[in-house]
Symmetry: C2
Subunit: 107 residues, 2 copies
């Protein structure tokens, strides 16, 4: 297939859009924060799709370097990760189908 891009518009652009990056720790803090937010959503979304397409159950624990713990799961974060959180931390419930992210205190 041949793809032609309008050269007049391409020309005067310092290069917008996504660039390739190395998969190694992002040193710049603010960059890292942004990437974390975006990619966390991305992973959860992918997991969500996997659940719905296959009918599997998934639990994900993202243990950020700070102290926040994001948990996601289907049907609920608990049902899959329950025993994981048996320490006594309130796990909360995520909604069915498109579960929401929960921020858990402590841990």
């Amino acid at each position: 297939m041949v793809i032609l891009k309008d050269s007049t518009q391409m020309a005067n652009k310092t290069s917008q859009g996504r660039k390739r990056i190395q998969i190694k720790k992002i040193e710049n803090l603010s960059h890292r924060k942004v990437a974390f937010s975006k990619r966390r959503v991305g992973v959860f979304k992918k997991a969500s799709e996997l659940c719905l397409l296959i009918g599997a159950k998934i639990g994900i624990i993202v243990h950020s370097v700070g102290k926040c713990v994001f948990a996601w799961g289907h049907p609920t974060a608990d049902s899959v990760v329950d025993r994981f959180l048996s320490g006594g931390v309130d796990a909360g419930r995520t909604r069915e189908n498109y579960p929401v992210t929960r921020t858990l205190a402590g841990l």
Copy 2:
């Protein structure tokens, strides 16, 4: 931006490549199996990247409908999911950096 696709080549193709799909359970078993395999790898890869880029710790439990349980984690599946598997199932260790998928018996 303007994108022009060569019509002569586009024409005689019954339509290869990826099609858009609905995010709902795939009824066809074999299709579902292959989608499961591919997407499971995809999710784990995304998670892996998130770990490396941000330096976070992640644990994922994929509870397929059958009886297989796939676990993935960084630094190790255990370190994050340890208590989750406290039931006595051998969790095994995943390798550093690019952890491998482990199939756990039971559960």
